[in-house]
């Protein structure tokens, strides 16, 4: 028994060390003279996430057409977990929607092939990693008058202003028509991509300020889920953060509401300013694993 006790004592002493110091979160300072070095901590979103799908497709992190992001990458379920992980880890590299990344001062956004993901560079198409935010409805059934009114709002000057405010590129940058409230009432159900979810919530809030008798349910269950829900009549509008596939276009009509860039992000202490698309690809494939091999 005493032996057991002493063994436990060692474990406890260890854990005390660990738990006792748990409060301190002092920053590691990277050595300024030599710049960032050591193991790259690759952080990715979960499989099925629209952001991951688009990132993998555009940066071509694939082998035989399959998503081949290194299995060693930390999987951050959700945008916030991604941001926090990158913000806290000096060795980290991750990716997130520019709408979120550019507004979060805890991380640094890298240029890709020398181009920063600014609104301008996404509009003129020089920033490589960008994707459309799409909404879809069932072609045969069309939109209900109420859903149509909401879509009209999205493409109006007010709606597109919300898009720009949130850091996305409006689909109609200038000269969108003014929206006038229609006085309709009822419920609109929107389901799909969790990336579009945040923007859609802002759009619905703005719409409801003008149409207080309308309820809009925005679910962010994922692109695939949203499309299924629309097909099964459980949603009026599906949201997608990637282009619809051919099989989906057979019954869905797509409308692009905004363009979103995907920013490659690192810890603020990281002294690298930019990467090439190829470097990003190699990092996420796991073929480059040390920061010093980047420079």
């Amino acid at each position: 028994m005493l032996k057991k006790v002493i063994k436990s004592a060692v474990v406890i002493a260890m854990s005390l060390l660990i738990v006792g110091c748990g409060g301190s979160t002092s920053e590691i300072t990277t050595d300024d003279s030599s710049g960032i070095s050591g193991q790259i901590a690759t952080i990715t979103r979960e499989e099925g996430s629209g952001t991951r799908g688009a990132f993998v497709e555009i940066v071509d992190v694939t082998v035989d057409g399959n998503d081949n992001i290194t299995m060693e990458a930390v999987v951050a379920p959700g945008t916030s977990v991604m941001m926090t992980n990158v913000a806290e880890n000096p060795q980290a590299i991750g990716y997130a929607s520019t709408g979120v990344a550019l507004q979060d001062t805890r991380v640094r956004v890298l240029s890709i092939d020398g181009v920063m993901p600014t609104m301008e560079n996404m509009l003129n198409g020089t920033y490589a990693i960008q994707r459309p935010f799409i909404i879809g409805y069932i072609t045969d059934e069309g939109l209900t008058p109420l859903a149509q009114d909401f879509v009209d709002f999205i493409f109006s000057a007010q709606g597109q202003a919300v898009v720009a405010e949130r850091g996305y590129v409006p689909f109609i940058p200038e000269g969108a028509p003014e929206y006038t409230p229609s006085g309709l009432t009822g419920v609109i159900v929107v389901n799909g991509s969790s990336s579009v979810y945040s923007l859609m919530q802002h759009l619905s809030t703005a719409y409801r300020e003008l149409n207080s008798d309308v309820t809009i349910d925005v679910h962010g269950a994922g692109t695939g889920h949203g499309i299924t829900a629309a097909r099964d009549g459980l949603a009026d509008i599906a949201m997608s953060s990637r282009d619809f596939r051919e099989s989906e276009l057979e019954f869905l009509s797509p409308l692009t509401i905004a363009i979103d860039g995907i920013a490659v992000i690192v810890h603020p202490s990281n002294d690298i300013d930019g990467l090439t698309l190829d470097q990003v690809r190699n990092i996420f494939l796991g073929e480059v694993s040390q920061w010093e091999n980047i420079r």
Binding site: V11, G65, T84, E88, A221
Partner: protein, 292 residues
């Protein structure tokens, strides 16, 4: 006669109502088994049970997809064992403290505090783990910080109240004469508490450990925020690397999954369910043996 039979029927109706209510738990377990197995087992069968359980590749979106959950099974085992290493010694010592060492005024504060520890929602623990424990482990031990070790520490914290509360009541249930006898024979307070009373409460303490294991295996929301979630088969010495548990696998991907992928996730749930059943069976066995 008429009045008598009214009372009789009332009694009978009540008894039937009570029996039906008591059957609710049986019906619930039956439904859970049937519906989980109905959705999970055929999928498992199609994929090949052995291939599903021992496959090391989890590539649900690949063409063709690969559904192997061995990394998650092993991951769940690692973090649970880790949680036990951290939580059990501290929990048992703390339980002895509560039962045998604690001055009354401190007990009045500590008892509700430990109950509170049990009541903190796991989302809150997860959030705390992500912003405090993950950076701490990274800075102290290296690696990305999202690791088996981090998840173990966090789970160890989360099972502490379970272990303390149940062990404490097991220790308290030991008759005072046993302790007093030891003291009368010249044992010190520590000696009497740890070498006489604690061994006497062994089965209750074991029960607390098993319940703690159950909580650790089933924990979802907190683990997914600190464990790294890599579906990679780890070796025990890679405790500074990340892992994915069975629970995290389900909660992370269920929102996106349809078709075979969803079935594979339900099958993951079935495996988790069976895991918990085994732990429960151990618990009942222990209870029977020790007659708690």
């Amino acid at each position: 006669m008429g009045k008598h039979s009214l009372v009789f029927y009332k009694e009978l109706a009540a008894k039937i109502l009570f029996i039906l209510s008591a059957s609710a738990a049986i019906i619930a377990v039956g439904l859970i088994c049937v519906f989980l197995f109905m959705q999970g087992l055929p999928a498992m069968w199609d994929m090949g049970v052995i291939r599903f359980l021992t496959g090391t590749d989890w590539r649900p979106t690949w063409n063709p997809p690969a559904f192997g959950i061995l990394p998650m099974i092993v991951g769940s085992i690692y973090v649970t064992v880790g949680a036990i290493l951290f939580g059990v010694p501290i929990g048992i010592f703390a339980a002895v403290f509560m039962a045998k060492f604690c001055p009354a005024p401190i007990y009045k504060i500590l008892k509700p505090a430990i109950n509170l520890l049990a009541g903190i929602p796991s989302v809150v623990y997860g959030y705390f783990g992500m912003v405090v424990l993950v950076p701490f482990v990274r800075q102290t031990f290296g690696g990305s910080g999202n690791s088996i070790l981090t998840a173990s520490i966090l789970l160890g914290m989360m099972i502490l109240p379970t272990i303390i509360t149940i062990s404490e009541s097991a220790i308290r249930a030991i008759p005072g004469e046993i302790y007093e006898g030891a003291i009368a024979l010249g044992a010190s307070h520590e000696n009497a508490s740890y070498r006489v009373v604690l061994p006497a409460a062994k089965s209750g303490v074991m029960a607390s450990v098993i319940l703690g294991i159950g909580r650790a295996v089933g924990e979802t929301m907190a683990v997914r925020m600190v464990a790294g979630n890599q579906a990679v088969l780890r070796m025990p010495h890679e405790f500074l690397m990340g892992t994915r548990t069975l629970t995290a696998n389900v909660v992370i991907e269920l929102g996106y999954a349809y078709g075979n992928h969803r079935a594979a996730l339900v099958a993951t749930g079935v495996v988790l369910f069976i895991f918990v059943m085994i732990i429960n069976a151990l618990f009942s066995l222990l209870k029977k043996k020790e007659g708690i």
